[in-house]
Symmetry: C2
Subunit: 423 residues, 2 copies
C-alpha cells in the first residue's frame, strides 16, 4: 500500500470566529424533540448540558505528569462516594468507569436524571455492599463530568482546551486517581473493579501500583486494545470530526456542537456493545409501530428506532472532544508492549488477588483476551479466579443483571474481605 501521506491535526487554539447564519444554532430542542424516530440529519445543534459532579478535588501543587511528556496543572477530579471509610481506611473499593461512563455509578445522574449505571452492583446488601465498604468512583481525566478534560478551561488561554488538551492514556487516568486516593489517606485499596475501559484501569492499577491494590476485578476487558476495536474507535472519531460543527475541536468557542457526528459515533459503538443474538431476540425484524414497511428511510424497524434513540440520548450527556480523547486512551493501551510483548512482565510477583470476568457473547472484548490476562497472572503464580459467564447479552452484560456475574463478584469480594480481615 502506498499510504504515505499523513496530515497532522495540529492542536489549534480555539479562537471564536465569525459564524455564518447556517452555522449558528438553529433551534433549541427539548429532549422530547429528540425522540427516537428522528433522523440524525434532522437534528438541530444545541450545547451539551454537561455539569460538574457533586464532589471534586483540585490538585494545584502536584502537576499530573502525562505519558506524552506534557503535564496537567492544575487538575481536578470529580467523584462520588458511597458508604463509609473505616478508621484504618482499609475498606475502600475503587470503581473505574467505562468509555462513556462517569462517577454516578450508584446515584442519580445530574443531566439525565437516571439512576446510577451500576446500581445493580453497588448498594446496601449488594455485591459491592455499601454497608461494609467505602465506594469511590471518580470521573476519568479527559472526561466531561467535572474532571479535567478537553472542555475544561485551559489556564494558559482562559478558553476551553479543545484539541490543545494533551492526549491522555489509561496510565494517566490511573495516575490521576492515585492522587485522589492518596488525598483521602487511603494507602491500599481493598479492591479495584471495572468493566471494559474500567477493566483496563484495573489492570493498570494492578500492574503499576500492585502494593496499593489488595484485590482486582477486571471485567470484559483486555490488556491491549485489538485492531478491530481501534478500527471501530477510528470510525467514531471520524464521524465526529466530519461534522462541520466540530470546528477542529473548537465548537465550545464557536457556539456550535457536533451532535450529529457524535450521535453517529455512538450508534456505531452501541452495536458493538450488544450481540447478534441479543439484537435478534430484542428486536428481530420487528417493525416500529407500523404494520408494514413504508418503502422509505424512516425508522421502520425497531432496531433503527432504538439506535437513533441511543445516539440522541448520548449527546445530551457527553462532550464530543472527550469522546475523541477517551477512545484514543483505550487505543493506546498495551500492557504487552510495555513489557517487550510478554504480558506476564506486567504482574511480576504480584500479591494482588484477581477475579477476571468475561462473557461468552462479548465480541468486543472476547474471552480469549481475558484468558491472556489469566495466563500472564498464572505465569506469576498469582492468586487468580477466572469466570467466563454464559450470556447472549454481549459486552454490555457487565452493566446488566447477570446473576452469575453478581454472585461471582459477591463471593470473591467476601472471600477477599475475610483474607484482609475486614469482617
Amino acid at each position: 500500500m502506498s499510504l504515505t501521506r499523513d496530515l497532522t491535526h495540529e492542536p489549534k487554539k480555539c479562537t471564536p470566529s465569525m459564524t455564518s447564519p447556517n452555522e449558528k444554532n438553529e433551534q433549541n430542542l427539548t429532549p422530547a424533540d429528540q425522540a427516537a424516530g428522528q433522523s440524525v440529519a434532522e437534528e438541530g445543534a444545541v450545547q451539551p448540558a454537561i455539569q460538574s459532579g457533586g464532589q471534586q478535588k483540585t490538585f494545584k501543587d502536584t502537576p499530573l505528569k502525562l505519558e506524552s511528556g506534557a503535564a496537567l496543572s492544575p487538575f481536578t477530579i470529580a467523584y462520588e462516594t458511597y458508604g463509609t471509610l473505616n478508621d484504618d481506611k482499609s475498606n475502600a473499593i475503587l470503581i473505574c468507569h467505562a468509555l462513556t461512563g462517569d462517577q454516578y455509578a450508584a446515584s442519580k445522574h445530574p443531566v439525565t436524571g437516571k439512576e446510577g449505571w451500576w446500581e445493580i452492583m453497588i448498594g446496601p446488601g449488594k455485591p459491592i455492599d455499601t454497608d461494609k465498604y467505602f465506594v469511590l468512583c471518580p470521573n476519568v481525566i479527559g472526561g466531561c463530568m467535572g474532571s479535567t478534560g478537553p472542555a475544561s478551561t485551559n489556564p494558559a488561554t482562559g478558553k476551553a482546551y479543545g484539541l490543545e488538551f494533551p492526549v491522555i492514556t489509561i496510565a494517566d487516568m490511573v495516575a490521576a486517581q492515585t492522587h485522589l486516593v492518596e488525598s483521602l489517606g487511603i494507602k491500599q485499596l481493598f479492591s479495584v473493579i471495572g468493566g471494559s475501559m474500567g477493566g483496563m484501569q484495573v489492570l493498570e492499577w494492578a500492574s503499576k501500583y500492585s502494593d496499593r491494590v489488595f484485590s482486582a476485578i477486571p471485567i470484559a476487558t483486555a490488556a491491549r486494545h485489538s485492531s478491530q476495536n481501534i478500527a471501530f474507535h477510528e470510525v467514531g472519531r471520524q464521524a465526529v470530526m466530519a461534522d462541520p460543527e466540530w470546528k477542529s475541536g473548537c465548537y465550545l468557542e464557536e457556539n456550535t456542537n457536533p451532535r450529529k457526528g457524535l450521535a453517529v459515533a455512538r450508534m456505531a459503538a452501541h452495536i458493538t456493545y450488544l450481540s447478534d443474538n441479543a439484537l435478534h431476540q430484542k428486536f428481530g425484524r420487528n417493525l416500529q409501530e407500523r404494520e408494514k414497511i413504508t418503502f422509505g428511510f424512516d425508522a421502520d424497524f425497531q432496531v433503527e428506532s432504538y439506535l437513533r434513540h441511543q445516539g440522541f440520548r448520548f449527546v445530551d450527556r457527553f462532550d464530543a472532544n472527550s469522546y475523541l480523547y477517551i477512545t484514543r486512551a483505550m487505543d493506546y493501551f498495551d500492557l504487552f508492549a510495555e513489557h517487550d510483548g510478554i504480558l506476564a512482565g506486567a504482574f511480576q510477583d504480584t500479591k494482588t488477588r484477581f477475579c477476571v470476568v468475561s462473557f461468552t457473547s462479548d465480541w468486543l472484548f472476547p474471552t480469549k483476551e481475558s484468558r491472556q490476562i489469566v495466563h500472564a497472572l498464572t505465569a506469576n503464580a498469582a492468586n487468580v479466579s477466572f469466570v467466563e459467564i454464559e450470556t447472549d447479552k454481549g459486552h454490555d452484560a457487565f452493566l446488566l443483571d447477570e446473576p452469575e456475574m453478581l454472585s461471582a463478584i459477591r463471593g470473591f469480594i467476601s472471600a477477599a474481605a475475610r483474607q484482609k480481615g475486614l469482617t
Copy 2:
C-alpha cells in the same frame, strides 16, 4: 420504551437553492490528495466521478413495476458480458453483485482503473470459465454505474431523482434483471451466482423464477437481513444524512457531495466485512510509518490508515443516495416473511440445483443463516450442496483467493454443466 415519534423523510424535490460560501466546493482534490492518512474531516467536497458502463439497455415500453407500488419507466440496465452465448442460449451465467459492487466483475473499472472485483472467479479456465460460458453481470437498479438509480434523471422533472427515486427491493432488482435476460433471448440461465447482496438476488431468482434457473450459487448470504445488519446499515445511512452536503438528497442539484458522511459509512461497513482475526493478522497494533505513537489523532495505527483509505477510495466511485437505497433494499429482504415465516415455502418443488457457500469467520452473514437456507431446500428435497469454508478472512472471503471456495464452485458448475448437457 416510549419511542413514539417518527418523523418522515418526505421525498423532496431537488430544486437548486442559494448556497452560502462555506457550502460550496472548497477545492478539487486529486486522488493523490485523498491519501490514507488524511482525516475525513480534512476532506474537500468534489463531485463523484460516476460513469456509465460499457453496455446498456433501456426499456421504454415495459414499465418496471416495483414492490412499493410505484413503477420505473423508462429504466436502464448497464451490464458487462464475458464469453460467448451459445446457439441455444443455454450457457449463460448471471453474476449478481454485492452492495457496493457493480457490473465490472471481470473487466477494468472505468473510474478506479482497477481490475474486476471477481477476476479470481471469472475468466478463461477459471471456475466460471469464459471459454465455456456466457457471463452476464448487470449493475443493479438503484445503483450508480449506469443502471437507473437515484442519480439518474427523473423524466418527470428533468433533474436527478434524489429521494424522489422510489425505494427498491431485492425483488425489484431481480425483476429488472429478468427484462435484460429476456431481451437477450435467454429462457433459462445455466447458473445464477453471487455473494452477500448478490446471494440475496440468487435466492430471489431461485424462489420467484425457479424454472428459469438451472443452478444457483448463493454465497455468504441470508434469506433475511438480520437485526444487527439492519443496525449497521442504519448507522451508515445516518452518517450520510448527517452530512450537511447531503442536502436532503439533493446534492447533485446543489453542487455539493456528502463525501465525508459516505466515507464514514464505508469505514464502519468495511470493518464488518472483515474479521477480528483478519484485522489482527493483517495489522495487529502495527504503527503506520512511525516508530512511536504520536499522542494525537493522526492515523498512528495501520488499521486506521487502512480504514481512512477505504473510505476515501469508495466515495470516488459511489453515489451517496445509491448507498441509502441499496442498503434499504437489503434491510427489506425477508424470504421468510413472504412465506408466513416458513422459508421452505420459498422453494416449493424447486428443480434448481443449489450450492450454498458460507465462511466460518463471516459474522455479518454467519453460517447459521446459510444453514437455514439449506434446511429450507432440504425440506423440499432439493438438490443442494452445502460448503462451509474454514477461513479467517470474514465476509469478504467470497471476493478473495479462497482455494476451497474456488474448487467447490468449479466442481459444482462442472457437474451442473454435465447434467444440463453443456459439455
